[in-house]
């Protein structure tokens, strides 16, 4: 029942966002002076810009108000925060912020050096391999439930 109400709420919000976008695009197309093709281009561009902003803002507001729960963002399956997730989050934010700064300064899509790609590759691979090790260990543990596989003193 609560899920249904939540779904209706999101649908209403989505329709309001689309309506606002169309209204602004229509206003630009009708009242802004200029060539018809330019007006059409401006209407579509502003419309998309506003729609993307509204989508992003709704997601942001939902995260801030805990409607979208991100409390387990860094959580491992076995409990406790995960180093591999933490470093992936840090590098994603750093590269993302750098990208915005560089685009804002140059007004063009920047060249991405190979060692930046390597940095992201290392970070993402670490996360992937870490998940693989965890899955393998968990799998092995369920098979060998006799408990004779412990190696005390070695930590991850």
């Amino acid at each position: 029942m609560a899920d249904q109400e939540k779904g209706k709420g999101f649908l209403t919000m989505f329709l309001v966002m689309v309506f606002v976008t169309l209204a602004i695009a229509f206003a630009i197309a009708v009242w802004v002076p200029g060539e018809p093709t330019l007006k059409l281009r401006l209407a579509i561009t502003y419309g998309l810009l506003i729609l993307i902003f509204l989508f992003g803002f709704v997601v942001l507001a939902a995260i801030a108000s805990n409607k979208i729960d991100i409390s387990d963002l860094l959580e491992e399956d076995t409990g406790g925060a995960s180093t591999s997730r933490f470093q992936l989050l840090i590098f994603t934010f750093v590269i993302g912020l750098s990208f915005v700064l560089i685009v804002a300064c140059n007004c063009k899509f920047p060249d991405v050096p190979t060692n930046v790609l390597a940095l992201l590759g290392i970070s993402a691979s670490t996360y992937g391999v870490s998940k693989g090790i965890q899955a393998a260990a968990k799998n092995g543990n369920t098979v060998q439930k006799d408990g004779s596989s412990g190696t005390p003193g070695q930590t991850t």
Binding site: L42, F53, T126, Q154, T156
Partner: protein, 120 residues
């Protein structure tokens, strides 16, 4: 057209900055838990799920190096925001080595008992 560019710029800044701020806020207020960030899992036959947690040097060095490289990179971008800064190959190598060390330690601690049993 200039207004469109400015609007797109501020939109990105508000959304990305907002996501960054919300995640950072939740990290600092405990909304996203960092408990056990430096604790590694170790195979433990006496535990209910087969694993227990202990402080891990591998995780500590990985986090320290990650924060160092991330901060260095961010400072370089702030200093010269015209292009992506070139990372020295040594730094990429050291970071890769650090992650391999962390993953090797993790694999050893979580899988070595399993492998040993395989050869019994």
């Amino acid at each position: 057209m200039r207004f469109l560019v400015a609007a797109a710029y501020w939109q990105t800044v508000i959304l990305l900055g907002g996501f960054f701020a919300v995640v950072l806020w939740k990290l600092f207020t405990g909304g996203i838990s960092l408990n056990g960030l430096l604790d590694g899992d170790v195979r433990d036959p006496n535990s209910a799920d087969g694993f227990s947690s202990e402080a891990s040097a591998g995780r500590a060095q990985s986090i320290i190096l990650t924060l160092f490289v991330a901060l260095w990179y961010l400072l370089q971008v702030i200093h010269n925001p015209k292009e992506f800064p070139r990372l020295p190959n040594t730094m990429v190598g050291v970071l890769a080595g650090s992650q391999v060390l962390y993953l090797g330690g993790k694999a050893r601690a979580m899988l070595s008992g399993q492998l040993r049993n395989l050869f019994k």
